[in-house]
Amino acid sequence: MALRFFWRWVKEAIVNLVRNLWLATSAVGMIAVAVFLLGFIVLLALNAAHFARTVEKGLEIAVFLKDGLKSAEREELARKLAQIEGVAKVEFVSRQEALEKLRRELGENSDLLRGLDKNNPLPDSFRLFPKQPQLVPLIAKEAAALPGVEKVRYGEGVVEKLLRVTNWIRWAAAGLVLLFAVAAVFLTVTTIRLSILSRGEEISIMKLLGATNWFVRGPFVCEGLLIGFLGAGLATGFLAWGYWSLLWHLEETTLFFFRPVSEARTLITLYLSLLFSGVLLGGISSFISVRRFLAV
């Protein structure tokens, strides 16, 4: 019985879609645009957040050691540095390693450093990696107070500014996503409401023939689900294809320091939730829009 009703709903929904092809197409198109825009913004926001995280992850503290420290003293210092709250990792960089690194960074201009091998001006140092970027200034302060430390560097002033910027990026991204989600909801509800509005007469006739509310509502809700599925599917397909080809091109050009979000699990989750919310939104919009015609 229930199954037969369900089958009727689906059949009716499909027949209605086909017979109102123009209306259905425009509704699908509207929802596709809404979902596409939302998805685009979400991708943008994801990448902004990812960018902020990448930048913050790059934060570290350089602790330069006094010259002529014995290895026992050095190890003692390393232990103390590791004990500072918020320090995730301590890494020793010898003066030779520091010079190598500098040379690598200079690349073609490494000639400048010729002859410094024997007379290395660079000090030994520790690199400290913070657990959270906000802790950098505090860790730096504590590290500076330890014996055997010559100087602590972490980009004073710049780090604080950077953290403010990354925070702002996160909030802005979240706000934008919210805004577009609301816009998408309104667009979908309005579109579906319009397509049902023209059929108010139909609904009241069915009610006068003795139809129960669910008998009338079922096909409309199915139709809404279908329109939502088609629209969101189209949008998600386009979005996935577009983003994928973007990633493909960036792969070849290696964009300086930033790599966009490309983790398959994140992206698939995003696409599926876009699709799902489109479907759900279509169904709920229909449900709401039919309700006002049922009171006969």
Partner: protein, 244 residues
């Protein structure tokens, strides 16, 4: 209906439709019916006549519970329609065939589907639908139009489709609200003959109309309304009775 099972004698005792001092005042203040009482027995053919705005349509709306009376009671099969639960209202409407002046067919459905809809609403199986829709279409003389859409038919044919839809669930009452209002005289006459035939086959028929010539030609009972009240005024000729 369910009260038949509760009270086996209901069929003999209770009239099909009974209005007891019914007054209907719409929210905008219009007094559509004032203290109207009458009853209709099973198997009757009844005309409801009166000028526009006399409350004829309101009367039909009260019977199928599209509207509720402001005062008084409407009893259908002995049950007060105001007391029906939503599912019982749906059930009541499935057992009342309704025909309107503007046909009220679904424009995007074929003739077959329009008639089948009433059966689907009543929960009929596909096999039943396949059997009964052609039967009832043949009965109203439209056997060959099953696959047409309403806009491809003439007004008279559309109204026959509406009658087929009203009949397909074997209603205890066929209620026609100015069914000939949009039809030419010859088609109107044919339609009336069809309704009379349906009545002879056992269905109670209530027909709201302005068309005095039709009323006078067949001599059936007349309920006459004027400004919401039952009147004493008599039609030119006829075997009418007044409401009790």
């Amino acid at each position: 209906m369910s009260n038949k099972e509760k009270n086996p004698r209901a069929r003999e005792v209770v009239p099909l439709i009974k209005f007891c001092n019914v007054t209907k005042i719409y929210p905008n203040g219009v007094r559509a019916l004032v203290d109207v009482s009458f009853s209709i027995e099973r198997g009757e053919f009844v005309f409801v006549v009166g000028p526009s705005g006399a409350g004829k349509t309101t009367l039909t709306k009260l019977i199928c519970r599209e509207e509720l009376p402001t005062r008084g009671q409407v009893l259908v099969n002995g049950r007060n329609v105001a007391r029906l639960r939503p599912s019982e209202v749906a059930n009541l409407r499935r057992r009342i065939g309704m025909v309107f002046q503007d046909f009220r067919l679904l424009p995007r459905k074929t003739v077959f589907e329009n008639v089948a809809l009433a059966l689907e609403i009543a929960g009929a199986s596909w096999r039943e639908i396949r059997k009964r829709v052609p039967e009832v279409l043949a009965r109203v003389g439209l056997a060959d139009k099953a696959r047409c859409f309403p806009h491809q038919l003439s007004g008279g044919e559309q109204q026959r489709v509406a009658i087929a839809r009203a009949l397909v669930n074997r209603p205890f009452l066929l209620m026609a609200d100015e069914p000939t209002g949009n039809l030419d005289p010859q088609t109107s006459w044919d339609l009336l003959q069809l309704l009379l035939k349906i009545n002879e086959e056992g269905t109670t028929v209530l027909m709201v109309t302005h068309a005095w010539d039709l009323v006078n030609a067949v001599g059936k009972r007349v309920i006459s309304l004027q400004e919401g009240r039952l009147t004493e005024e008599l039609p030119a000729w006829g075997n009418y009775r007044y409401g009790t």
